[in-house]
C-alpha cells in the first residue's frame, strides 16, 4: 500500500469544487431571479385597495383581492385546525407507542407515500369525496384537501422531534411514577415543543402556496367568503385565473398576489428557523 500523494488529493479537491460551486450558485441565481421578477412586477399592484376591496368585473380597473386574501387565510386556518391535531397524535403514536409494531410500520410507509403524492391527486380525491357528494365546491373541501397535504409533514416532524428527546428524560418521568400518557404529554412533549411548532409552521408554509388541490375543491369566487359552504375565493386560484386573462390589470394583480404569497411563505419559514434556533440554544440539559 502506498500513501496517496498530496497533489492527487489536491487535484480531486479542486475538481469537486469546480463542479459544485457553480451548481450552488446556479441554484441561488434562479431563486434570486424569481424573487426579482415577482417583486418588480408585483410591488406596483400592492396598494390599500388590493387589501380592502373586492375584485372588479373583467376589464374594469381598480378593486382588490381582499376576499381572496381572507379566503386563503380561512382555509389555511381550517387545514391547520384539522391537520395538526391528527398529525401530532399520529406522530406521538409512532414515536412513543407504536415504535416497531406492524401498524406503525404501515403508517410510516403510507405517510411517505402521501408525502410524495402530487397535490393535484389529493385535490381530485377530495373532489370525489366531498364536492361530488355535496354537489358544490366549498371552502370546507379546500380546507380538507390542504389538511391532507399538511398531515404527513406534521406527522413526520412530530415523530422525528420526539425521537430526539433522550430516553433518560422519559425514564425519569416514569421512574417518578408517572403513567406513560402523562409522561408523554407533560415531559416529552414539552421537551420537543419548539421542534413541533417548527413542523407545524413548515406544513403551513407548504400548503399555503398550493393551487391544484383548491382548483378542484374551493374553486374561486368574486365575493366575500360569507360561509365556507360555498365556492371560496383564494389567492392561488386567483393567480391562475388572472395570469391567464388578457387584461393587463388582472395580470398585474396576479403578480401582486404572487408577491404576497411569496412574502407570506418567507415570513413563516423565517419564523420556523427562529423557533429552531431557539431550540438548539436551549437543549433540555446543561
Amino acid at each position: 500500500m502506498r500513501l496517496r500523494s498530496r497533489t492527487q488529493r489536491k487535484v480531486a479537491d479542486r475538481a469537486a469544487r469546480v463542479v459544485m460551486v457553480p451548481a450552488a450558485l446556479a441554484g441561488i441565481a434562479v431563486l434570486a431571479w424569481i424573487l426579482w421578477e415577482v417583486i418588480s412586477r408585483g410591488a406596483g399592484a400592492l396598494n390599500l385597495d388590493f387589501f380592502t376591496q373586492l375584485p372588479t368585473p373583467p376589464g374594469m380597473e381598480g378593486g382588490g383581492l381582499a376576499n381572496a386574501i381572507l379566503g386563503t387565510l380561512l382555509m389555511t386556518v381550517l387545514a391547520t385546525v384539522i391537520g395538526t391535531p391528527v398529525g401530532l397524535m399520529a406522530g406521538i403514536y409512532l414515536a412513543e407507542f407504536g415504535t416497531t409494531s406492524r401498524l406503525a410500520t404501515a403508517v410510516r410507509f403510507t405517510t411517505n407515500l402521501l408525502m410524495g403524492t402530487p397535490s393535484i391527486i389529493v385535490g381530485i380525491f377530495v373532489y370525489a369525496l366531498i364536492v361530488l357528494r355535496t354537489g358544490h365546491f366549498s371552502g370546507w373541501a379546500g380546507g380538507v384537501a390542504l389538511a391532507i397535504l399538511m398531515l404527513p409533514v406534521v406527522l413526520r416532524t412530530t415523530e422525528d422531534m420526539l425521537n430526539l428527546v433522550p430516553d433518560e428524560l422519559r425514564e425519569s418521568a416514569l421512574a417518578l411514577g408517572a403513567p406513560r400518557w402523562r409522561a408523554t404529554l407533560t415531559v416529552v412533549f414539552r421537551a420537543a415543543k419548539t421542534g413541533l411548532v417548527t413542523g407545524i409552521l413548515l406544513a403551513v408554509a407548504r400548503v399555503s402556496g398550493e393551487t391544484a388541490p383548491l382548483l378542484f375543491t374551493a374553486l374561486n369566487s368574486f365575493y366575500w367568503p360569507e360561509t365556507i359552504s360555498e365556492p371560496t375565493a383564494n389567492l392561488t386560484v386567483t393567480i391562475f385565473n388572472y395570469a391567464m386573462s388578457p387584461y393587463a390589470d388582472w395580470q398585474q394583480k396576479a403578480w401582486g398576489a404572487s408577491l404576497l404569497i411569496t412574502v407570506g411563505i418567507l415570513i413563516v419559514t423565517v419564523l420556523s428557523r427562529f423557533t429552531l434556533r431557539d431550540r438548539k440554544s436551549r437543549t433540555w440539559s446543561r
Partner: protein, 263 residues
Amino acid sequence: MNRAGSAEEARSLPSKVSVRNLNFYYGGQQALFDNNIDIPEKRVTAIIGPSGCGKSTHIRVYNRIYELYRTHRAEGQVVIDGKNILLPSVDLIDLRKRVGMIFQRPTPFPMTIFDNIAYGLKLHYRVGRTELSDRVEDALKRGALWDEVKDKLGEPANALSGGQQQRLCIARAIATEPELILMDEPCSAIDPVATAKIEDLIQTLRDNYTVVLVTHNMQQAARVSDFTAFFYKGYIIEFGATKQIFTNPAERETEDYITGRFG
C-alpha cells in the same frame, strides 16, 4: 466518618431488597446470571465492577423501568418489603413511588425548578397550594439545594449548573417519599466539587432511606457506602461490608479490579 458495616451486621440487618435467581435478557442476549443479593435497609450499598458487567441492568430491575423496552426481560424474584415486584399483578405506579431513581446524566424536566419538584408530588398526592410549596421547600432542603435556588424557584431548571441539576433530581425523587433510592453513577457527569456535595448528601440520606449506588469510582464507593457488591460479566462475584471488600476481598477477580489490574 464512615460507619462501615461489618459482615455480621450485613447478616443481622433487615433487608430492603432480596434478589433471588435473577436473570436478565436483552432480546436473546443474557446480561445478568443468577444474581442473588440482600440489600440492607437504611444503609448505602455500592455496586462496582467493570464497564458492561451489568450494574445498570441490575438496578433497573428494581423499579421495572426496563419494561419501557419490549425486548427486555427479567426472570427470577426481586422481593421488596416482602413482595415479589416482578409479578405482573404489581402496581407499577405504586412501586415507582416507593423506589426512586437517579440517572447518570441529570434529567431536569423542561419546566421551572418549583414545577420539577412538584411534578412527582402532584402525581401521588392531592395537595393544596400552601402545602405544596412547603413540601417543595422541604425536598429542596433535603436535596441540599434550597439555599442556592430559593430566590429563583420560578426559573427554568435547565439554567442550573450540572451539579445543581443532579441535586434537583435527587430532591425531586425524595419529594415523593420513596423508601429506596437507586443511583446510577450520579456523579459521573459533574465536577469534583459538585461530586463532594452529592456524596455528603448521600451520607445524610442513609438515615431515612435505603440507597443503592452504582459507581465507577472506587474511592467514592469506599467513602460513602456501608456495603459493596462486585459485579463481573453479569455475575455477582462478591458482596460484603465495604471495608472488608476493599481491604480483604475473598475473590481474586475482586482483588484484581480494586487494585486496578483491569476495568
